[in-house]
């Protein structure tokens, strides 16, 4: 009889343990999804800012029409990209085009005196920071989650409940690693 009771008690403990681990993993996974959507939010902010920026500087930098076009084109490509690989590549392209534009505009002193432009510059630079922090947070949550499902004894239950690891956001486009080139 006592052996039976011990077995039942052990089973109950294991069940509670399993529930606790399952809930923890679910929470961790949800945080990952949340972090991903945060990146999305920041990317959309960037889309919204760009038309404003282009309009306000076009008057000053009429010769730079090529750069403006590149930015506008990259923006529409990013907005219509489908599939995560294509999307990531398009967003990296847009980031590069924007950086190129901002570097070009450094050469126009009248722009630096324009408060409107300075505000937009701060907004754009902040948006780039936010995108990069959102990616950082995403990678942090992914690392937490991947670690949680790999640790013993959680990994046993992770397998049973079909929790699989998630990819970190790496820099996909080698062009992004290079500093933007200035062309006059």
């Amino acid at each position: 009889m006592p052996v039976g009771i011990i077995l039942i008690a052990a089973a109950v403990v294991i069940v509670f343990f399993a529930i606790a681990i399952y809930n923890k993993l679910v929470r961790s996974r949800k945080e990952v999804d949340n972090a991903w959507s945060q990146i999305d939010v920041q990317l959309k902010r960037r889309y919204d800012l760009i038309p404003n920026l282009v309009e306000s500087v076009k008057g000053y930098a009429a010769h730079e029409s090529g750069v403006f076009e590149r930015v506008t084109k990259a923006r529409s490509e990013a907005m219509t990209a489908r599939g995560s690989d294509a999307r990531i590549a398009a967003e990296n392209q847009l980031g590069g085009a924007l950086r190129g534009l901002m570097v070009q505009l450094e050469a126009y002193p009248e722009l630096k005196a324009n408060t409107n432009f300075l505000q937009l510059q701060e907004e754009l630079s902040s948006t780039e920071n936010k995108i990069s922090f959102a990616r950082q947070y995403y990678n942090d949550t992914v690392t937490n989650y991947n670690t949680a499902i790999a640790l013993f004894p959680a990994n046993i239950f992770a397998g049973i409940f079909h929790f699989s690891s998630v990819e970190l956001w790496r820099i996909e486009d080698s062009a992004e690693r290079n500093a933007p080139k200035v062309s006059f």
Binding site: E122, E123, K130
Partner: protein, 304 residues
């Protein structure tokens, strides 16, 4: 990197829970001793209950304590994005890096250089910075300082210090009330019963404990406050991935001795000690902040 910080933060959380449990226990035990000392055996149960109630109320006040009173004490004004867009952006960026809601942001008009954070949980949080400091820092340094303050919120340092303060206050209040009641009743139940000596002993122990308890916990709390400053610096780097910003800001902060009005309740939540003469921080047992040079040195060591 995340794992190490998580271990530090976890140890912090364990110590804090332990200390709070000890304080609550003090409250209950002192209640029981004082109750027993004044009214014999029946008093113990009543004292115990009284101590528990005081502990509970103190915890509730500490947990749900408000932001507005502290802010108006310091003459801080809440800002919207249009007032200081760069500051707003800097804080927003950090909130994203930490997966937190953006806190309310306040500005204090003074030449003194300082910043503090308040709010018992991330969704009730607020950060404040002086106009003096805002003018002196560049964007990276500002981000370092704000990251430090936001880390106090994230690590629940503020909730902990509020709980400690209210619990310590609760213990003092408890002993005052009971002693006053005891003096009035004149201890008339003591005559002729063997319990007389035991009661006097209980009362004495209760009184001594209620004097010592705040002192002991104060020393422990100050030691933890210094540890939490180091942890907030480390957590700030976890957010920004840039130790140089904060180190450079601390360097700028170390020279300043401009006096400023501050609330003692918020003392440990400032980035550097607001007390003139103690700005540099120290290893002294009674200091809320560790030495700035040591903080800068630890940050420099993180530079790879």
């Amino acid at each position: 990197m995340p794992k190490t910080f998580r271990e530090l933060a976890a140890a912090n959380r364990r110590n804090s829970s332990l200390l709070i449990a000890v304080m609550v226990l003090f409250c209950i035990v002192i209640g029981a001793l004082l109750g027993g000392g004044l009214a014999g055996e029946e008093g113990v149960a009543a004292g115990l209950a009284g101590g528990a109630v005081v502990a509970m109320i103190s915890c509730l006040i500490g947990w749900y304590g408000g932001v507005s009173t502290l802010m108006s004490f310091h003459g801080a004004k809440e800002i919207v994005k249009a007032d200081a867009p760069q500051l707003f952006n800097v804080v927003e960026e950090l909130a994203i890096a930490g997966g937190l809601p953006t806190p309310r942001i306040f500005i204090i008009e003074t030449d003194a250089l300082n910043a503090f954070a308040t709010g018992a949980s991330p969704d009730k949080a607020a950060v404040a910075i002086t106009t003096g400091l805002l003018a002196k820092l560049d964007r990276d340094e500002l981000q370092g300082v704000m990251a430090h303050e936001l880390s106090h919120v994230r690590n629940l340092d503020i909730r902990f210090s509020m709980l400690m303060a209210t619990l310590a206050g609760g213990i003092v209040l408890l002993s005052e009330i009971v002693l006053r009641a005891g003096l009035i009743s004149g201890g008339r139940r003591r005559s002729g019963r063997d319990n007389g000596n035991a009661q006097i002993v209980m009362l004495l122990i209760g009184i001594v404990l209620s004097i010592l308890a705040p002192l002991i916990t104060s020393l422990i709390e100050l030691a933890m406050s210094r540890q939490r400053e180091y942890l907030a610096d480390a957590s700030a780097v976890e957010l920004t991935r840039n130790p140089r910003g904060l180190a450079s800001a601390l360097h700028k902060l170390s020279g300043d001795q401009t006096p400023m009005e501050f609330s003692k309740a918020a003392e440990s939540m400032f980035i550097v000690n607001p007390k003139v003469g103690l700005r540099g921080g120290s290893d002294d047992l009674f200091s809320t902040h560790p030495p700035i040079e040591e903080r800068i040195r630890r940050l420099a060591a993180m530079q790879r």
